[in-house]
């Protein structure tokens, strides 16, 4: 089954889905394993695994540091693909890779997609690859049935959203606000208007991310979006309280 359908099916059963994020190899693959296990056991619906890049231009300080430490510890792309395969094989939820375009470009687009498919992953988030920069890549992704997740931003016009929707598969990642990952977002009136515009622009499920911190944030999104994305918050949690703290945190969000 493809990503869009998996999420739509899950959405039938839950008021709101949860997607979480980890940085591969940070602090270690072993901790990644423990964290993912707790996430899955506590009902997470989808997990994006970030392959670290030395220049994570769209990420804030927490994820930036995680990227750099993972690389410094020796994480390779091959390690990440292998680990992704292990997770997809172990758990019955959709897994995605998130990374910057250079990682894929340098690895070889087709080879990367082939191995992603072989690993059993469902999609890819590449924040620095707008569709007009990657027409060939988007076509290849379709061939390999890897959903290219596209991003709507509050600054996207209606026309732009329509164009993005044309290329997108799986779901649309709506960033809640301007800025990079990690800072808290406000879900006020402007946000409502923005989300309504997103909804109108696509039939794909909508995920909202950037700065979602706690139960209150998730509650506030219920009924407005299909999926909430928890990013840097769990990385900080692991840093501060260890991997064991993740399960309880996830369980308490919905």
């Amino acid at each position: 089954m493809q990503l869009e359908q998996i999420l739509k099916n899950r959405r039938q059963e839950k008021e709101i889905l949860l997607m979480t994020h980890i940085v591969l190899g940070y602090p270690s693959f072993e901790v990644n394993r423990q964290v993912i296990r707790q996430m899955v056991e506590n009902g997470v619906d989808c997990i994006e695994m970030q392959i670290p890049f030395s220049e994570p231009m769209a990420d804030g300080p927490v994820i930036l540091k995680a990227n750099q430490e993972s690389i410094a510890a020796g994480t390779t792309i091959a390690d990440c693909l292998e680990f992704g395969a292990e997770m997809a094989d172990t758990y019955d939820i959709p897994f995605l890779f998130m990374t910057y375009y250079n990682i894929i470009f340098k690895y070889g687009e087709e080879k990367f997609l082939q191995q992603t498919q072989d690993a059993g992953l469902k999609g890819l988030i590449i924040p620095d690859l707008p569709p007009e920069m990657g027409e060939d890549f988007f076509r290849l992704a379709e061939e390999y049935r890897i959903a290219p997740i596209l991003i709507f931003a509050p600054t996207s016009t209606d026309e732009r959203m329509a164009e993005l929707n044309h290329w997108a598969k799986g779901f649309i990642y709506c960033v809640a606000r301007r800025g990079v990952t990690g800072r808290k977002s406000e879900f006020g009136d402007d946000f409502g208007t923005y989300l309504a515009r997103c909804r109108k622009a696509t039939d794909l499920p909508l995920a909202v991310g950037f700065g979602i911190q706690d139960r209150a944030d998730v509650q506030a999104l219920k009924g407005k979006t299909d999926m909430a994305v928890i990013g840097s918050r769990t990385i900080r949690l692991v840093e501060e309280e260890g991997p064991e703290a993740v399960g309880g945190f996830i369980a308490g969000l919905r």
Binding site: M57, A153, R178
Partner: protein, 408 residues
């Protein structure tokens, strides 16, 4: 078919979605300015009234005699206000910012020259200003930091990654995606997402426009070769554009650091450690490992110490229109020394790279030939690095004595 924002295989705008609209507007404003002859007039009037354009093309008689080959001319971008060619680009973008009605500018800086120029422009135009600068460069270029702050700018030392130019660029982008409504990112070189490479090159083309006129006035004909150092590529593009369609050999000189074989350098177009990549919003030759992670670079010149290079230059390298060479730190210090002694001119460490290659080749050319070295900036800013490189004992004593006073 030419893809928009691409030069051959290179360039593009690999940007987060949140910036899409901002780039659309910038592109539009840039096209409008480019099509409006009044804009260039306003720009060049500003540069002649606030800076001192046209900058001279100085005949270096003593160096020419010393090498006994080509007649050596030096294009004096050091005489610009703030001391480098960076002012050209920055003042041009300043005019665009005014047109766009934005109130704040941000910039990355390596050598500090672009930061100085941006802080200066912000003061002149009344914009708020934040400058991102790698922590390593803050240390290398402290005097520039001091002046930027005095000009009212906030200088943020960037402590991530290699703590040099590329990290400052990432950090500036992070600011921009957060504050895009009122803020313009004044990119400092002919790199980054389209339209920056083309736009920065356009503003810098004022160098080549002047030089092509001046060399004919002074030497009676076009030069045989032109030398320019290549960090991001803006001063090189600036002068090269004046001679692109002429039978003039164009030579770009990259930072050879401790030598190409050492791995401690920043040679992207003449070395063997680079490969095609996409980062910082554009596609070019990057110094990266086989996994696509960027490498640490090294140069005695903070302004050349960068992993990427202008996509336009990557294309001109493909097309063999520009030849690329490198100069080591050691060669740079020697060329600087000679230039000071023989001509009374102090090139910036960056610019000195171009001098190195010109000095290597001048003896092999005929005295009927002219060559032009683009002196992108002055070396005053580098006093801490240069005094250090020369291991000057009285400078050290002076610094130690000052420190003692400050410790009291």
């Amino acid at each position: 078919m030419k893809r928009k924002g691409f030069f051959g295989n290179w360039g593009g705008a690999f940007i987060p979605e949140v910036l899409h609209q901002t780039f659309q507007e910038l592109e539009q404003e840039y096209r409008k300015a480019k099509d409006d002859p009044a804009f260039w007039q306003e720009y060049s009037a500003l540069m002649s009234n606030y800076s001192c354009r046209p900058t001279p093309l100085t005949y270096a008689g003593n160096l020419s005699k010393h090498f006994g080959g080509a007649q050596i001319y030096i294009k004096r971008e050091d005489l610009n206000h703030t001391g480098a060619h960076k002012a050209n680009n920055v003042m041009g973008q300043g005019l665009l910012v005014k047109r766009m009605g934005k109130k704040r500018v941000i910039a990355e800086t390596g050598a500090g020259q672009h930061g100085m120029a941006t802080a200066t422009m912000a003061a002149k135009f009344g914009f708020a200003c934040t400058i991102y600068m790698g922590e390593v460069d803050v240390r290398r270029q402290r005097p520039n930091v001091f002046w930027m702050e005095k000009m009212g700018a906030t200088v943020v030392p960037v402590k991530d990654g290699s703590r040099t130019l590329k990290d400052a660029i990432n950090e500036a982008f992070r600011d921009w995606v957060t504050n895009l409504d009122d803020t313009h990112y004044v990119f400092g070189t002919a790199c980054g997402p389209a339209p920056f490479p083309e736009m920065v090159s356009w503003f810098q083309s004022i160098i080549g426009q002047e030089a092509s006129r001046q060399i004919v006035e002074l030497h009676g004909k076009l030069p045989a070769r032109i030398y320019a150092c290549v960090g991001g590529g803006s001063n090189a593009m600036g002068i090269f554009q004046g001679f692109m369609h002429d039978a003039v050999e164009l030579v770009g000189v990259e930072a050879g650091g401790h030598g190409i074989a050492s791995g401690l350098h920043a040679a992207r177009l003449c070395g063997t450690d680079s490969s095609p990549g996409v980062a910082q919003g554009y596609k070019t030759m990057f110094l990266q490992n086989s996994d696509g992670q960027m490498l640490e670079t090294h140069s005695v010149a903070a302004g050349l110490d960068y992993v990427g290079v202008s996509p336009i230059l990557s294309d001109l390298a493909d097309k063999k229109r520009v030849r690329f060479e490198s100069a080591t730190d050691k060669e740079v210090i020697a060329a600087l020394d000679l230039t000071m002694r023989l001509e009374g001119i102090i090139p910036a460490l960056e610019s000195s790279h171009a001098f190195v290659q010109a000095f290597k080749e001048a003896p092999g050319l005929s005295p009927n030939d002219a060559i032009i070295i683009n002196m992108s900036g002055r070396g005053d800013k580098d006093i801490f690095t240069i005094a250090h490189a020369f291991d000057d004992p009285s400078w050290k004593e002076f610094i130690i004595a000052r420190a003692e006073e400050y410790k009291k």
